[in-house]
């Protein structure tokens, strides 16, 4: 993908928006000012944001569990995310579902699931729809190294390859599933090598380098759009925080490991890259950051001030059944 300066700034904006939103929400949680416990993708933004950045209007993204970056990049507002996080009546699900797995199909964001890996067969099905309707749209599905052990992953790989569906599978291999290091999860630390077994192309990129991620995903997206079928892209990355904000930062991870990776902060790397190109200066980036900070602040303010769910206004049964005809009881 040839990115214009505007594109590059927009990409930086998405990265910073994601980082800043998650940091603010985490701080609030740690300071006990917010009940919302984030499971952040801090450290992994180049993957989440970079990959989503390659999509166009009408495409779909299927987030795994720490893909706020994908949601924001696809146009979900910070306000909406915080409304979801705070389980407000204005949230996407009206208090029914978690912000981590929130979806908005009008923006091409497919509702997620707590069940690790289980979003992949669903993404597969959306990709099936796209081929069925002869659309040139694509689906981008995220999953972690942990998810690669599930049967759901296997299904999505094999069916999408066999049926030649427009699906791009992006693995953020952050070296851990909760506390479990790769050595307990798989024999080799590489996941992209699984692709060959399904007759699929497998690609491995540095997940801290957003340019590399964009390049690889963009290529796969184009291929899928052109009817070339699915691609598996593994991004080597790392989460800088604990599994969730209520977990310790390390969860038993070696301190050196963490510090080595922290030195590869995707935002710092991209920022440096932009500045080195001389087309964007420090001031411009500061301006973006200031703007983002304002947007986040406003989103937070709105969402925190928004009315809480009150028991007397809860609508418990609508949409449980399509017609809902008298099924409140003994359904």
């Amino acid at each position: 993908m040839r990115m214009s300066i505007e594109d590059q700034k927009r990409l930086y904006r998405c990265l910073y928006l994601t980082r800043h939103t998650e940091e603010v929400l985490s701080d609030l949680y740690r300071e006990k000012k917010s009940p919302y416990k984030p499971m952040t993708g801090i450290g992994q933004e180049a993957v989440t944001v970079g990959a989503s950045f390659c999509l166009s209007e009408g495409d779909f993204v299927s987030p795994a569990l720490r893909e706020l970056g994908a949601m924001l990049t696809r146009g979900m507002s910070v306000r909406q995310h915080v409304l979801d996080a705070l389980k407000k009546p204005e949230s996407m699900s009206g208090g029914r579902f978690s912000a981590h797995h929130s979806g908005d199909i009008s923006k091409g964001i497919i509702l997620g699931t707590y069940i690790v890996g289980s979003n992949l067969p669903v993404a597969l099905g959306v990709a099936f729809s796209l081929k069925y309707t002869e659309s040139d749209r694509v689906v981008l599905a995220f999953f972690g190294d942990g998810a690669s052990s599930t049967g759901s992953f296997h299904s999505a790989m094999n069916c999408s390859s066999t049926m030649n569906l427009p699906l791009v599978l992006v693995c953020n291999n952050n070296a851990y599933a909760l506390s479990t290091p790769l050595r307990f999860q798989m024999k080799t630390p590489d996941i992209y090598i699984r692709a060959a077994g399904y007759g699929m192309e497998g690609v491995c990129v540095d997940g801290q380098d957003v340019c590399g991620v964009v390049e690889a995903v963009d290529k796969a997206v184009r291929k899928a759009r052109a009817g070339g079928g699915p691609t598996l892209i593994e991004c080597k990355t790392y989460r800088f925080r604990g599994h969730s904000e209520s977990h310790d930062f390390d969860d038993g991870r070696p301190a050196e490991e963490l510090s080595t990776w922290r030195a590869k902060d995707p935002l710092v790397i991209y920022r440096r890259f932009l500045l080195s190109g001389k087309k964007v200066d420090e001031k411009a980036l500061r301006r973006i950051e200031r703007e983002v900070e304002r947007e986040v602040k406003e989103g937070m303010e709105y969402a925190f001030a928004a009315p809480e769910l009150s028991a007397d206004k809860v609508d418990m049964y609508t949409h449980l059944y399509a017609d809902n005809g008298g099924r409140e009881k003994n359904v």
């Binding site: 699900s93 199909i105 099905g125 069925y132 759901s152 003994n330």
Partner: protein, 329 residues
Amino acid sequence: MKTTISGALRLALRDEMTRDETVFLIGEDIGYYGGIFNVTKGLIRQFGERRVVDSPLDETGILGIGVGAAISGLRPVVEIMYVDFITTCMDQVINNAAKMPWLSQGQLKMPLTIRANFGTGKGDGPQQSQCVEAWFMNVPGLTVVEPSTPKDAYGLLLGSIRYDGAVLFLEHKLLYALQGEMEPDGRALPLGKGAVRQEGKDATLVSCGLMLHKAMRAAQELLEEGISLEVIDVRTVKPLDLELILESVEKTGRLVTVEENPYTGGWGLTVTDAVNRELFGKLKEAPLRIASLDVPVPVSNVMEEMVVPNVERIKREAGRLVRHGKGRQ
């Protein structure tokens, strides 16, 4: 016209696929082979590989495609060859198909029909003869349909495909060949409505699927002995048409449920519970449940016959309930 249940199902699929371009079929061996019980026979010739999809042997993939396609504008009819195999994709059924519309406040629709054959009678043993409705009774969001006649098979399948929520559509393998009158008139039957198959006054028999036919036979034979049974076909096991049942039991004062799944935890419990609660003090006898024995389905036909309720047993227990009270002794 006269046709079999499998013929009626095939007509329903054909008619709905003709009418609605978004309807497609996916499953194992449903295309060129025509499905393990021939239900989809010939449809691939008519509609092509795009709309009749022979899938890999992977129920999770099949269900995933169903769920994903349903939320993105299509109306998938997925086939799980034998319902027992649904155990390999339960997550998609329970956590995604049943919940996504509710979780998204209706932003996502789930016009997904999961067809599967089920049941005993073929000597297929414990992992290919199960009767599983009861596993899903406690899963809000799902609808479970079970036709017992060609006419119902046609109308309920249309109703299921047109319904915007997830339906588990269960076809008893011994009933595929059952003949009956029906008109392929494109009319759907509403889900959740039972039917009185025979009127009577001494007791109400509530059943569905293959058991419904056994119950009918038992009722006919008991009639000759002077016992008049009202027989209700629930048609939809979830949600049950409790209104219809209560009305009938209010009249007869006695209830017998006849189900094919194991006794403990069977769907008949939902019926006896409602009847006991709503008609407390008005019942002539304690409701009686007739169900399979609490064991897996044995492969031996001798044993299978002992496990599953048969006409004799229904007759004996229902007859005893009316004559002496206390059906089971």
